[in-house]
């Protein structure tokens, strides 16, 4: 008989775990790990992606494994939502595993076999999160995910910053997990039944459901990096090996989004409009924050990490909008927005993994992460450079690539907000749209900085001359992701049609017939109001470009002379005259001065032989929120510490007083 998708997913999880276990057998055998384990993992990932893609829109299936607690065995379930995210996970993991087979070298950190084990455990945990259908298995998978990724982040544990980053990450992840657990505890609404099935049927009183929602927002926000729980993200992503950063940014953050969607739209029935307002505001603030901070980073992975924060912010804002629309019964708009959100999730998974992997290749080729020491790599590593260009354009939301589509849809949703009952909301929506657009424009700025400083211009350091291009595996992985970006960009109608079952499931209304006028056009509401066809745009642009080229060639000669750069006739130009990362980000830093907390600014003196200008930037939130909390906790602990002050008669007094007090209390 044909195995059901759910069985296949479980099989995939088991396969991943098995591969990981194999890694334990020969921990130090790099060949075995990179030539066998990671490709095998990639194969499993592909299979998972196929299964997920197949299962979208099929009827939900559920099963119970005889694992877990005696009264609460593992309930597993696959429906369109989880299937979609499984597809995402598989598609991303396939590329990243492929890349990893070429990436990992033996280092003095964790031995490769162990890394492979943690890596595949990480994948398996994420898959399990997606098919979990009761609180216990969800928490187990969730925390296992956190643990595995923590160990992956701390692979190079000899470096103190990395240790610090890992610790911060794990602690915040744990706090988030606590919030999630509380959320489930609220959701079960006194029934004592912790399966999602019973939570679905549970109707909570308003206050409690709001509490549940905000616990979920906190818990999943901590994982996704919503303000102010984002601080671990820019620390952990750079610390991790690049494939892991890619996996965390591309897939793991999406698990948080999945959880938020699952809780908000499925486990909670009935949403309140003001949740939407909160999520919208929070999301946009996060997005703007991420973009602004990304613009002033001088470490390429930190920059990408902040840009992840920004994208997550956009996604959350979208979710807020969905809540808003759904709570007012505008199901069509809700559907469009949800489509936009899911689309953006998919896009981000692709281009962010692409970019992180590209940084990985750069890191390997140059041993350099700081933008100030890179440059001109497009000549040394053309493959990586050109593929990264696709990612850069995609993330900057440029037609006809995929980043643009989701932003376009989201803007449509903003734009066609019919006058909602709340005037306040009506005022909010345009402002929100403005913030969104501003963020998008900033992203373009950021990405130009990223790409230009890393790949273009002249090498800023001599050793860059020896950089080698990425290897076979890495290249193919990058190609695959870039192709994904293009396809997602030019065939939006098909993608939206593919996503539609989830609208049906979460919103109860289908948006696809409106969204996909026909396979060529994307037309929400109707074609007169707005329509977009990426393919045609692409064809026209390419056509015009080719046409002009041929015409110019035909009418005029194509002679070209190579000469030193003119540059207004300035003599002696050195690569050091180019903009550094700090230089490029400086205008933004000036405009958004109050956002930043300048830690130290190192200005060159006139007598420096090799002057460098560097600024270290930190965000206020740490000092406004976390530092006080830490100090408070320490103070309390110190006070409590006085209890234990070493003198035996005092201890005796404690127990004596306890005794007397209790006896008194009894009478």
């Amino acid at each position: 008989m044909m195995p059901t998708p759910l069985q296949l997913v479980i099989a995939a999880i088991a396969a991943w775990l098995a591969i990981g276990a194999l890694g334990l057998l020969r921990p130090r055998d790099l060949r075995f790990v990179s030539r066998f384990l990671f490709p095998a993992g990639a194969a499993v990932a592909v299979a998972l992606a196929i299964v997920g893609g197949y299962a979208v829109g099929k009827l939900p299936q559920s099963t119970v494994l005889p694992l877990g607690l005696p009264d609460l065995p593992f309930h597993l379930r696959i429906d369109s939502l989880s299937a979609f995210f499984l597809l995402l996970l598989g598609a991303t993991a396939a590329a990243i595993s492929l890349f990893s087979s070429g990436y990992f070298r033996s280092s003095d950190g964790t031995p490769p076999g162990l890394v492979a084990m943690q890596y595949h455990a990480f994948l398996a945990a994420m898959a399990l999160v997606l098919i979990a259908d009761d609180a216990y298995v969800f928490m187990v998978a969730w925390e296992a995910m956190a643990l595995a990724s923590y160990f992956l982040v701390t692979t190079e544990h000899r470096i103190p910053e990395i240790r610090r980053a890992g610790f911060l990450y794990l602690v915040i992840a744990h706090i988030g997990a606590i919030a999630i657990l509380l959320c489930f505890a609220v959701l079960q609404g006194g029934s004592g039944d912790y399966t999602f099935g019973s939570m679905r049927s549970m109707i909570l009183p308003g206050a409690w459901s709001s509490i549940a929602f905000f616990l979920a927002l906190t818990g999943f926000g901590a994982k996704a990096g919503i303000l102010p729980l984002h601080i671990w993200l820019p620390e952990a992503h750079p610390a991790a090996p690049s494939p892991v950063s890619a996996l965390m940014s591309g897939a793991m953050l999406k698990m948080a989004i999945y959880g938020l969607l699952r809780v908000t739209f499925e486990l909670l029935n009935g949403q309140l409009w003001w949740w939407g307002v909160v999520a919208l505001t929070l999301g946009l603030v996060t997005a703007l924050f991420g973009a602004v901070f990304a613009a002033v980073q001088s470490d390429m992975k930190r920059l990408l990490a902040y840009s992840s924060i920004e994208n997550i912010g956009i996604i959350v804002a979208g979710i807020g909008l969905v809540i808003l629309f759904k709570s007012y019964g505008k199901s069509l708009l809700a559907g469009i927005t949800l489509t936009a959100v899911l689309y953006h999730v998919l896009n981000h998974a692709f281009y962010k993994s692409l970019l992180f992997l590209a940084t990985g290749s750069v890191l390997h080729a140059t041993k350099e992460r700081s933008l100030g020491r890179l440059g001109g790599l497009i000549h040394r590593m053309p493959w990586v450079a050109w593929l990264a260009l696709v990612g850069t354009l995609a993330i900057s939301g440029i037609p006809p690539l995929n980043g643009f589509v989701s932003e376009w849809l989201l803007l449509q949703a903003f734009l066609f907000t019919p006058s909602l009952p709340q005037t306040f909301v009506n005022m909010l929506v345009p402002i929100a749209a403005a913030a969104l657009v501003l963020t998008a424009a900033l992203t373009a700025y950021v990405m130009v900085k990223f790409y230009g400083v890393v790949f273009l211009g002249r090498p800023r350091e001599p050793n860059l001359a020896y950089a080698k291009d990425a290897g076979r595996y890495e290249r193919s992985a990058l190609c695959y992701l870039a192709t994904g970006c293009v396809l997602l960009g030019v065939l939006p109608a098909n993608v939206t049609a593919f996503i539609d079952p989830i609208n049906l499931m979460l919103i109860g209304a289908s948006a696809a017939p409106r969204l996909a006028g026909n396979w060529l056009f994307l037309a929400p509401i109707d074609a007169d109001r707005s329509s977009y066809s990426a393919l045609i745009v692409l064809v026209v642009i390419v056509g015009v470009v080719l046409l002009t080229m041929t015409i110019v060639r035909r009418l005029y000669h194509g002679r070209v002379r190579i000469a030193p750069a003119w540059d207004c006739g300035f003599p002696l130009q050195t690569p050091r005259m180019q903009d550094t990362a700090e230089g490029f980000g400086q205008p933004i830093r000036q405009v958004f001065e109050p956002f930043f907390r300048i830690m130290q600014r190192q200005l060159p003196t006139p007598f420096d032989s090799a002057p460098r200008y560097s600024v270290r930037i930190d965000d206020h939130l740490w000092y406004w929120i976390y530092a006080p909390i830490v100090r408070g906790a320490e103070w309390i602990a110190r006070t409590a510490g006085r209890v234990q002050q070493g003198r035996i008669s005092v201890y005796l007094t404690y127990s004596f007083c306890t005794l007397l007090a209790l006896l008194f209390f009894v009478r």
């Binding site: 103190p160 505890a185 035996i648 201890y651 306890t658 009894v666």
Partner: protein, 483 residues
């Protein structure tokens, strides 16, 4: 019957034997062997009880039901693994010149004696004997704690002795009150102190007397459980004694004390119609959890750190038993089990880590993973397990407890969770640098055995992912007995 005799006899004989030729090289082996025989007998006993139901033997002096047999099995098992661990550990201590062979003899003899007293406390049906055994356990361990004769160890032992002695005295008074209440019903001789007898008539026992008795008993045995604010002896004793002793102290002795409390609680609950006992235990439990969580962040000595974590977990278990009901009791029992396994495993690793670094200060132990990966991974995994990270078993029990708390006392859940979160941050911030980074450790003269550590952790991991049906039924049965 015969199993009981073996279970109790072996350690007693072993103690005598080791007292006689304890300084020989093979003493450690004898120690292991004796513990192993005990384990076998315990397993046999367990099987019998599970098959045939509760035993009541030797004119009702010994009573074994699925509740205490689970603890007997646990005690025997951890006793055995600890003996295994202590074999190389003590060799190394001797090689480092911290112990003479005469001390080793004391150690081995007392170790067996300690096992005996604990098993006796678990198996006896007589509340008086229970008390005697608890006191004897204290005395045996006092000598073990002061084994190194350093100022610190002496101070710790002294505090341990005085505080627990006084506490236990309260327990005795409680026992006397129990007797006082029961003798009218059961007659002066015999039955009035037998738990089974008391259990049968608990509904007729005098509430006022019992409530006062319970206060004394709780304060008494609670001192040994390490409930705040009676816990003050615990960190010192754990930190200053030899590591195997710390392992059995927090792995087993605390369990036994808690067992005593629970037995008493059953009686009192039966007689009182108020929630007095429940609230008392829950209050103590919660207080211990919170206080321990706060103090964790102040610790500099790694063994002290985990001693506080023991206080925390005993608090959680007490809270669970306080709530009562099948699920909470099940969870409490499970929590005792996983805590013993995990905590002893942690102490095994910590012990060797301390030996490698030549200190117990967390700031001076670094980079274990680089010199001895097994040790490092054992420590970090154990720590994560004890901090309630899934997929380890501690999370399973904590999950159940929180779930029940949500049903019974919703306000307690956030408090517990906050405390757990704080504990997580404080403990992990101290353990991570010990495990990772550049190393400070030396090689050890004798190769440590890591088998116990990983066996324990594997068991804990299994319990987190899959509780075998027979175990589940067994614990359910036990939970029902506690009521």
């Amino acid at each position: 019957m015969i199993e009981i005799l073996i279970v109790l006899g072996t350690p007693l004989v072993g103690a005598a034997l080791l007292g006689w030729l304890g300084e020989r090289d093979y003493a450690a082996t004898i120690n292991v062997a004796a513990s192993f025989v005990t384990l076998l007998a315990a397993v046999a006993l367990t099987l019998r009880v599970l098959v045939e139901g509760p035993l009541l033997v030797i004119d009702r002096q010994f009573f074994v039901d699925s509740f205490n047999v689970s603890l007997v099995a646990l005690t025997a098992f951890v006793g055995f693994t600890t003996a295994l661990f202590s074999r190389p550990y003590m060799r190394i201590e001797q090689a480092h010149g911290r112990l003479t062979s005469a001390r080793l003899r004391l150690y081995h003899a007392m170790y067996q004696l300690f096992n005996f007293t604990m098993l006796l406390a678990l198996l006896t049906n007589n509340m008086g004997i229970l008390w005697v055994a608890m006191e004897a356990a204290t005395l045996a361990t006092v000598l073990l704690v002061s084994l190194y004769r350093t100022p610190a160890s002496l101070e710790a032992a002294w505090k341990y002795f005085i505080l627990c002695g006084v506490g236990i005295a309260q327990a005795l008074f409680g026992t006397i009150l129990l007797y006082f209440a029961a003798e009218k019903l059961l007659g002066a001789e015999g039955g009035a102190l037998l738990w089974t007898g008391l259990n049968n008539v608990k509904s007729e026992l005098e509430p006022t007397v019992l409530s006062i008795a319970f206060v004394f008993l709780l304060v008494g045995y609670g001192t040994k459980v390490g409930l705040a604010p009676l816990h003050n002896w615990l960190p010192d004793a754990h930190a200053e004694g030899p590591t195997p002793v710390s392992a059995v102290l927090s792995g087993l002795l605390l369990n036994v004390a808690l067992y005593a409390v629970v037995r008493c609680k059953v009686l009192v609950e039966g007689s009182l119609d108020t929630a007095f006992a429940r609230e008392l235990m829950m209050g103590f439990g919660l207080l211990s959890v919170v206080l321990a969580a706060l103090l964790l962040s102040r610790q500099k000595d790694v063994k002290r750190l985990f001693a506080y974590s023991s206080i925390e977990h005993m608090g959680i278990a007490t809270f669970a038993f306080g709530m009562g009901g099948p699920i909470a009791n099940f969870a409490g029992l499970l929590h005792m089990t996983v805590h013993s396994l995990t905590k002893s495993a942690i102490f095994f690793t910590v012990g060797h880590a301390a030996q490698k670094a030549g200190t117990q200060l967390t700031d001076e132990i670094r980079g274990l993973i680089t010199t001895n990966p097994q040790l490092g991974w054992g420590l970090v995994l154990g720590t994560l397990a004890i901090l309630g990270m899934p997929p380890f078993g501690v999370f399973a029990s904590e999950f159940l407890i929180l779930v029940t708390a949500m049903g019974v006392e919703p306000w307690a859940t956030p408090v517990l969770l906050a405390a757990l979160g704080l504990a997580f941050a404080s403990v992990f911030s101290k353990i991570q640098p010990m495990v990772f980074g550049e190393t400070t450790a030396k090689r050890l003269p004798v190769r440590p055995t890591m088998i116990p550590v990983f066996v324990h952790l594997a068991l804990v991991l299994m319990l987190g992912l899959w509780i075998p049906p027979f175990l589940a039924d067994w614990y359910r049965q036990a939970a029902r007995l506690i009521g």
